[in-house]
């Protein structure tokens, strides 16, 4: 029995299950916020899996996701800006919870892997993920206006 894998399974069953529901139903604002939060959730789950399987190379998946996930949310913020403007989705509490959760898990993983390059990489992924999540939330809350056009 492996505690890391149990944690990942619980996170996926609860969090990602809720995310599928949240992204498939409800107003557009809630859906984009859910998409943003799913990035953090899946990234943390992948890091837990990497530790659970004892495969430090899998951290690369988390690294890539921590970079591309927030960029993906920025795509929605940019190209759905028109639809989001009437009611910009703000989720400060959810963003704070995601950031705190990410920080807690990443620090626990870094401690478990011991000092060294692996721990530095984990902390880097965590920092990228939290920054990206916060910035993407800001972008969704009206950070990117729709572009005008010379006619």
């Amino acid at each position: 029995m492996n505690g890391w894998l149990v944690a990942a399974a619980v996170l996926l069953a609860g969090g990602l299950g809720a995310a599928v529901w949240g992204v498939a139903t409800g107003p557009l604002g809630r859906r984009v916020v859910t998409q943003n939060m799913t990035t953090s959730l899946v990234c943390v789950a992948v890091l837990l899996l990497a530790q659970g399987y004892r495969r430090p190379a899998y951290v690369d998946i988390g690294l890539e996701l921590s970079l591309l996930g927030p960029i993906g949310t920025l795509v929605y913020a940019r190209l759905l800006a028109d639809d989001l403007r009437p009611d910009p989705p703000r989720a400060p509490r959810l963003t704070a919870v995601a950031a705190a959760g990410t920080a807690a898990v990443v620090i626990a993983l870094a401690v478990a892997s011991g000092p060294g390059r692996a721990a530095v990489k984990l902390l880097l992924v965590g920092a990228l993920l939290i920054t990206g999540n916060v910035v993407a939330s800001r972008a969704l809350a009206g950070g990117i206006p729709e572009e005008a056009r010379h006619e």
């Binding site: 799913t38 996701l65 190209l79 639809d83």
Partner: protein, 117 residues
């Protein structure tokens, strides 16, 4: 433990894939597609196929949504400003499910979604 993870991931992929088909509006579909991509990436990780997971993330997290949304934007713009504001007699305007799209019975959405598909 690994079997449980595999089952959870398969169920999540099945659920999000079904949702991606059931949602009819392309913009919202792109959002569900992103979550489907993430579920698939986790599934591949659980199957110990990190290369495939990386490919899935590379394509699914930015490239696919960008292509879908740019195409939607072009098509909507080509349809003219009338359709854009949702006032025209269009069947599948973008404002179908927007809360400010006008008086619309809450129950009518599903039916119209089905009709436009």
């Amino acid at each position: 433990m690994n079997d449980a993870l595999v089952v959870i991931c398969l169920l999540l992929v099945a659920a999000s894939a079904t949702a991606a088909v059931a949602v009819r509006d392309p913009e919202r579909q792109a959002l569900v597609l992103a979550v489907l991509g993430l579920s698939l990436a986790v599934l591949f990780t659980v199957f110990q196929a990190p290369d495939v997971a990386l490919s899935q993330l590379a394509v699914g997290s930015v490239l696919t949504p960008l292509l879908v949304l740019l195409s939607v934007r072009k098509v909507r713009r080509g349809a003219g400003p009338k359709t854009r504001r949702g006032t025209g007699p269009d069947r599948g305007g973008r404002d179908r499910t927007r809360p400010d799209a006008g008086p619309q019975p809450p129950g009518g959405r599903g039916g119209r979604d089905g009709a436009t598909g």
